[in-house]
Assembly symmetry: C2
Homo-oligomer: 208 residues x 2
DNA sequence: ATGTGTTTAAAACGTATGTTTGAATCTTAC
DNA sequence: GTAAGATTCAAACATACGTTTTAAACACAT
C-alpha cells in the first residue's frame, strides 16, 4: 500500500521541517527518518517543493473546510469571536486528523518569512479567498478604524499570533525556567484572546 | 585597504540575506555582488556563520550602546516610552552609521525562526543582558500583570513588532494595492505604539 | 498461475555549496 | 629599492544536495 509510505514521509517531513526549517532539512534526512527509499519523495510528490506544499495542505485543507463551515454559522462576530473561531477550528482538525500531534503551527513561522517564495504563492492561490472572508468578518466588527489602520492592525495581530504559536514550544520551556511552571497551550491561547481584542479596541490614531 | 573589501562584503551580504534568507544566499552570490573574490569571505571573516554574525553585530553593537545610554537616562518609563526609546535608538543608529539604509530589521525576522541555530546563541551571549534590562523596565510599568502573564505579553509584543517591521516592505506594497497609498515607515511605527500599549493595558486574565 | 501496472530499491548523475590552497599582487616600513 | 607582511586571485577540493535512471519486487485482477 503506497498510502503508508506517503503518510510516513509526510509525518517525518512535518516534524523535521518544524525542527530545522525547509532548506535546512534534506530529503535524505526525511526518507531515513521515515524508513523509506530516497527516491520515494520524487516518485510520490514530484519534488521537494511539492512535498512542502503537501505537508501544509494535509492540515490546511480540512482546516479551511472547518473554518468556512463555522463562519457560515456566525452572526455579527466580535474580534474575540473570530479569534476563538480560528482556534477551535485548528484544535478540531488537530484532534480529528492528527491525534492532537500536528506541528503545523511551527511551520507557519517558517513559511511567513519565506516572503517571496513558492509557499506564499501556494497559500494565496489555495487559501486566499477564505482568508479574505475571515478578514472581512473582523473588519465588520471594527468600524471605528480606517481601512489603512485596520490593515496594519491585522498584520500586528497576525505577527503576534503566528510568532507566539509557532514558537510556543521553546517559549514555554524558557518560561518554565523563569517561573517554574510550563504554561499549557490552551491557557496561553486563552490569555491571548483579550489581548488581541484590545489591539483592535485601541482608538484610531492614524490620520484618515 | 582591506576595510573596503570587508565593508562591501557586509553590505552585499546584508541586502542579499534580507532578500532571500541565510541558507538561500550563497557566498558566491555575495562575493559577486560585492565585486570581490570568493575566498575573501573566509579570509576576512573565517566562515559563513561568522559573516552572518558580523552583519548583525555591525548594527546591533552600536544599537546596544545607544539603547543602554537612553535607558540610563529614563525614569519610570511607560510601555509607550520604552517602545519609542527602542524605535529612536534604531533610527539613530540607522541614520548615523547606515545613512538610513540598513536592512537589518528584515534580517531579524529570519533570525527569529532559526530557533535552535547559532544565531540565537550569538544573540543571547552578546545582547542578552541588555535585553533583560529592557524587559525589566517594561515590567516595572505593568505591575497589574502576574509574571507569567507578563512573559507571554512580552512575546506577543515581540511577535507583532518583529514580524511587522521585518515584513514592512512587502506589507506596505500589498497595502498600496488595497488603498492606493504606501504607508511610510514612520507612520506605521507611530501607529503601532498605542496598540502595543493597549496590549499591556488589557486587564489580567490568567489565574495567578 | 500469469501478466500488468504500481511501488520500491540501489546506484549514479549533475550541480551547487563552503572551504582550502598556493601563487601572484599590492602595501608599507626601513 | 627592497624585504616582509597583508591581501587578492584563480583553481581545486571535498561534500552534500535534489533528481533521474534502471531494474527488481510487489499487488492484484483475470
Amino acid at each position: 500500500m503506497s498510502n503508508n509510505t506517503v503518510t510516513r514521509i509526510l509525518d517525518a517531513a512535518e516534524s523535521l521541517f518544524a525542527e530545522r526549517g525547509f532548506t535546512e532539512t534534506s530529503l535524505r534526512t526525511i526518507t531515513t527518518a521515515a524508513g523509506v527509499n530516497l527516491a520515494a519523495v520524487n516518485y510520490h510528490f514530484g519534488s521537494k517543493k511539492d512535498l512542502i506544499q503537501s505537508v501544509f495542505a494535509r492540515f490546511l485543507d480540512p482546516f479551511e473546510l472547518e473554518i468556512r463551515r463555522r463562519m457560515s454559522e456566525v452572526q455579527n462576530p466580535s474580534v474575540q469571536d473570530m479569534l476563538v473561531l480560528a482556534q477551535h477550528s485548528a484544535m478540531q482538525v488537530s484532534l480529528e486528523h492528527f491525534n492532537g500531534r500536528s506541528q503545523i503551527m511551527k511551520l507557519l513561522g517558517f513559511a511567513y518569512n519565506q516572503g517571496q517564495g513558492h509557499i506564499r504563492k501556494f497559500f494565496i492561490n489555495r487559501y486566499g479567498e477564505t482568508f479574505s472572508q475571515y478578514v472581512q468578518h473582523v473588519r465588520a466588527s471594527t468600524p471605528h478604524l480606517g481601512e489603512e489602520e485596520f490593515y496594519w492592525r491585522i498584520n500586528f495581530m497576525l505577527g503576534a499570533m503566528i510568532f507566539t504559536v509557532s514558537s510556543y514550544d521553546s517559549l514555554s520551556e524558557i518560561g518554565e525556567l523563569e517561573f517554574s511552571r510550563k504554561t499549557p497551550l490552551d491557557e496561553m491561547l486563552t490569555a491571548v484572546v483579550p489581548v488581541v481584542q484590545s489591539m483592535f479596541d485601541a482608538p484610531a490614531n492614524m490620520k484618515s
